[in-house]
Subunit: 83 residues, 2 copies
């Protein structure tokens, strides 16, 4: 995926997952440095409905395959350390 | 949860999630430093079946509420940095 395009797309995600991919809210996961393939799988699962979440499911509906690949690449590229 | 008890319980988890909570296998998520509450929610979701995964679902069946709390505390306590 394209990291820069992913960063642009991540504007909506910041509210729950944090500016740097570390969630400020304890029930939302940190995404910084997570496995790219795992992130993409989860975005697709939410879109297809094989994984359900009241908050995430509507968030991913407008995303294209390209968007999801870019978002996965972007969050995987963030370091969970320099927080 | 109890971190030491979580560490003992995590022996089975190491195969996929890594010795230090950083998965060696790209499709499995890193757990080190993840949000404790999020981890507990996901373990419960796998146990209840509201989240389904062929590998994870059988893994969590034998876990008690206590085990799940301890595992969540243990993995949340690991730093994703000193890898």
């Amino acid at each position: 995926g394209d990291i820069a395009a992913g960063k642009e797309k991540s504007v909506t995600c910041v509210a729950c997952h944090g500016q740097n991919g570390i969630a400020q809210i304890p029930m939302y996961p940190n995404l910084a440095g997570q496995k790219e393939q795992y992130l993409l799988q989860q975005l697709k699962a939410f879109k297809e409905g094989s994984r359900k979440n009241m908050v995430m499911s509507p968030m991913v509906q407008p995303l294209s395959e390209e968007d999801m690949k870019n978002l996965a690449a972007y969050y995987a590229s963030l370091s969970p350390c320099d927080q």
